[in-house]
């Protein structure tokens, strides 16, 4: 009996020590995995920096006229695609825009301003091969100033021109890029706080990790974001969407078009619009007919680049990105140059 008890207690002890040993090894595995993950992150951060896989992001500012732009005099590289499929250098000039030029308009020279969003901003190309530069190559007598900023809508554009009135009055002609479905959602300029929130201390800190920026740009963080969204929806379920009839969709679409048109008129009257000097740059394929008729009826000039793109037998946008590629930018520059040549801006 004593032997049996001894045997059982030895077994129990051995069993317990095995379990203890197992738990300790398990803890070791978890700790070691944590350490490995940390080291992987450090190594990947270094590799991403070494091969410059992640894009640089310049700092945004809100100037004294409440114009949002890039902090002057910065440069870096913009990267698109997992394997650096598109790699280009940007240079933010003294005025806070991406350009190889400094903007110093004079009465003597002929200056053209291109105002618009990321398509005009052109981080996807080397700053010395921008649309402006291409136009200058086509018409050597002029200087092109590119006031492009990602996310600029028509309100941002007119507010910029209005805020820097003196500078823009010296510029001979101004071309404003406009996308009807995006750029006329508001009838008055207000600072876009959500964009400036990207400069919050936490975002600035996150941007310091090139690995994080890279992971976000290639979509690897989409799943965690979606998961977070799903979890949030569990806590606060969104109201069920009701099926909408086609007539209702048409009615909403029409309502929106009228609203955008009203916003256009409101912005024009609020910030001023010189029909002789200002020209809109648009793609009629994605622009409301109502808006085009409105432009025609009210003598607003516009450049429609759709026919250049339609004729093209090469892709006009980048891989991984809907922005214009070099060929697309060539076509845009061609459209602008031909328009300017017709305008006969060249001073004898």
């Amino acid at each position: 009996m004593t032997i049996l008890i001894d045997h059982l207690s030895t077994f129990n002890f051995k069993h317990k020590s095995l379990l203890k040993n197992g738990t300790e090894k398990m803890k070791k595995l978890i700790l070691k995995s944590g350490l490995y993950i940390f080291l992987f992150l450090i190594s990947l951060e270094l590799l991403v920096r070494l091969f410059h896989l992640g894009k640089d992001t310049p700092t945004r500012i809100l100037d004294e006229y409440k114009v949002e732009k890039w902090m002057p005099n910065q440069n870096g590289y913009s990267v698109t695609g997992n394997r650096r499929q598109n790699f280009s250098e940007y240079r933010i000039n003294n005025s806070g825009f991406n350009s190889y030029r400094e903007f110093t308009p004079t009465k003597k020279n002929i200056e053209i301003a291109l105002v618009g969003d990321s398509f005009i901003e052109g981080f996807h190309q080397n700053y010395y091969n921008s649309i402006g530069k291409k136009v200058e190559k086509s018409i050597p007598e002029i200087e092109v100033y590119e006031y492009g900023y990602a996310g600029y809508d028509f309100a941002d554009q007119l507010h910029l021109i209005h805020a820097y009135k003196e500078e823009f009055e010296t510029i001979d002609h101004i071309v404003l890029g406009i996308k009807f479905s995006n750029d006329l959602t508001r009838g008055e300029y207000q600072v876009v706080t959500s964009r400036l929130a990207l400069e919050s201390p936490i975002n600035k800190l996150l941007k310091k990790s090139k690995l994080l920026v890279y992971s976000k740009s290639i979509g690897i963080l989409n799943s965690p974001q979606k998961l977070l969204y799903r979890l949030m929806n569990i806590l606060n379920p969104a109201p069920k969407t009701q099926s909408v009839s086609e007539e209702e969709i048409l009615r909403i679409k029409k309502e929106k078009e009228n609203q955008y048109l009203a916003n256009f008129d409101s912005l024009v009257s609020k910030y001023g619009y010189d029909k002789n000097r200002f020209t809109l740059l648009l793609d009629s394929r994605i622009t409301s007919r109502l808006f085009i008729s409105h432009l025609k009826e009210n003598d607003y000039n516009y450049i429609d680049f759709s026919e250049y793109f339609e004729k093209s037998d090469h892709p006009t946008t980048l891989i991984y990105d809907r922005h214009w590629n070099n060929y697309g930018r060539d076509l845009i520059a061609k459209a602008i140059s031909e328009y300017l040549k017709k305008k006969e801006l060249i001073k004898e």
Binding site: L18, T23, K25, M26, I30, F40, L44, N82, G219, I220
Partner: protein, 483 residues
């Protein structure tokens, strides 16, 4: 739940930690927990089909006991038929019902009668049905052949059928391996866990980097084969060979690695089939769990190679055609199986079907001799050729593909459908093949480096490659889920 989804990477650590911290105390707790986790894993996809798994489990659990307790052979056979009919019936209904109806309608049409195919049904194919029905059937067959005694623990048996790492796409386990492990209490094994993690990383690499990155190219070429020259079509089917290998062997590696985390050793499913020196060796290395299943439960009961040559050839044809049909309800798979039978028979007749069973290419050298390189290339080409049928949507498409190669036998540089650099993929596949050749002796140790630093560099590069070739916009499900 996909192995390459975020859901799984949340599910796995939670289950792993809970299993070893809270459910390690006794075997019953371990199995109950694994069973719940497995049903959750499957139920997230579609909970309704859990009833099918449960039904298959229950039927085979009791049938096995009846077989075991039966006094006469006739009675044993009768109970075996219950299991076979039930499992094949499940497969037949969910996987092949529409195929048989359509084929019947087509056959009638050949004889000049027109019949509306109004009997076809909108049936969802339950993921993994081909795998778990074969697994449960193998159990009843093993009991019938007296290789095993039936389990009296329903929980362990249910865990054997639904063990989540291998539930939806194998390896198709035998009770002698998996069930025996599930009836023994698992203790935490550090080395086994680290080996499991390494296999998971390597499996993910094969899936994300190899299979998923070339999938858009293969899809484009097979969808538009009429517009491409022979060079592009050959490229397409060659890339498909890599895609299907990366996809399925990647899945198997993740499954084996995940099982290791829970103290379970699953059988190897892929042993570097791309380095096979003949078709027989290929079948000893490709989808091993299925090919051995057919060998044990179809080929050998039919007499295998112990009967006369003619009957052996018949048996070979049967297992390859059935194996083809197992893959899907389409004539393309039957044709694929038929091609493999035709490729295998000459090897069998020459008596070369077992000569490479116990060795690998370049067994004792760094580089294979010219003869072996030639053999590998020839085998790879033949297997790749058969995949035209495996990948095509229909027999008409497969022959159209071949006709296009013949009629438009020219070379043209292929451009990626999304405009990416093709050179990236060629370099990637070249390096992958070289690395696989280096590790060819042990499919369960993809990172066999003595130096810890070199090992760490290898892991980092593998993860970097996953980032470099990750594409959020593609369908990331596994090819073999459809089977």
């Amino acid at each position: 739940m996909l192995f390459n989804s975020l859901d799984f990477f949340i599910f796995l650590p939670v289950v792993f930690i809970a299993y070893w911290f809270f459910f390690y105390k006794n075997l019953r707790l371990q199995n109950i927990f694994i069973l719940i986790a497995s049903y959750l894993f499957y139920g997230i996809w579609d909970w309704r089909f859990l009833f099918l798994i449960l039904a298959s489990t229950t039927v085979d659990y009791f049938v096995a006991q009846y077989i075991h307790n039966s006094d006469s052979n006739k009675q044993r056979k009768r109970w075996l038929w219950v299991s076979v009919i039930f499992n094949i019936g499940l497969l037949g209904f969910f996987k092949y019902y529409n195929f048989f109806v359509d084929s019947w309608v087509d056959l009638i049409h050949i004889f000049g009668y027109k019949l509306q195919s109004s009997w076809t049904l909108q049936i969802i194919l339950p993921v993994g049905i081909s795998f778990y029905t074969f697994q449960t059937m193998s159990y009843s067959l093993d009991i019938y052949y007296k290789r095993l005694t039936p389990s009296k623990d329903f929980i362990s048996f249910a865990t054997f059928v639904s063990f989540f790492p291998q539930l939806v796409a194998g390896p198709i386990e035998r009770a002698s391996n998996l069930l025996s492990q599930l009836t023994t209490k698992r203790t935490f094994n550090y080395k086994q866990c680290t080996e499991g993690l390494k296999l998971i990383i390597w499996g993910l690499f094969k899936k994300v980097v190899i299979a998923d990155s070339i999938a858009p190219i293969v899809d484009d070429i097979f969808a538009n084969y009429e517009n491409y020259p022979a060079s592009t079509l050959i490229l397409g089917v060659t890339l498909f060979s890599f895609q299907v290998y990366g996809d399925f062997s990647g899945y198997s590696d993740i499954a084996i690695g995940t099982a290791k985390l829970f103290g379970i050793e699953l059988m190897s499913n892929f042993k570097f089939p791309n380095f096979s020196r003949n078709v027989a060796e290929y079948w000893q290395r490709w989808h091993v769990s299925l090919s051995t299943w057919f060998r044990h439960y179809v080929y050998i009961p039919l007499g295998g190679s112990r009967v006369n040559k003619l009957k052996s050839i018949r048996n070979i044809c049967i297992i390859f055609l059935v194996s083809g049909f197992w893959h899907g309800a389409n004539w393309t798979f039957i044709a694929w199986g038929g091609i493999h039978a035709l490729l295998y028979i000459p090897v069998f007749l020459m008596g070369r079907n077992r000569i490479y069973m116990d060795n690998v290419v370049a067994e004792n050298s760094w580089f294979p001799p010219i003869k072996e390189i030639f053999q590998i290339l020839l085998t790879f080409s033949l297997i790749t050729f058969s995949r035209i049928f495996f990948r095509s949507e229909s027999i008409t498409d497969a022959f159209g593909f071949l006709e296009q190669i013949y009629n438009n036998f020219s070379f043209e540089i292929y451009e990626h459908p999304l405009g990416y650099r093709m050179i990236d993929y060629f370099v990637l596949l070249g390096l992958f093949t070289l690395y696989e050749f280096r590790i060819r002796r042990d499919e369960r140790s993809p990172f066999k480096f003595k130096s810890r630093i070199v090992r760490f560099i290898a892991y980092t590069l593998v993860i970097l490659c996953m980032l470099l070739f990750f594409d959020d916009n593609i369908d990331r499900s596994f090819i073999y889920f459809q089977f």
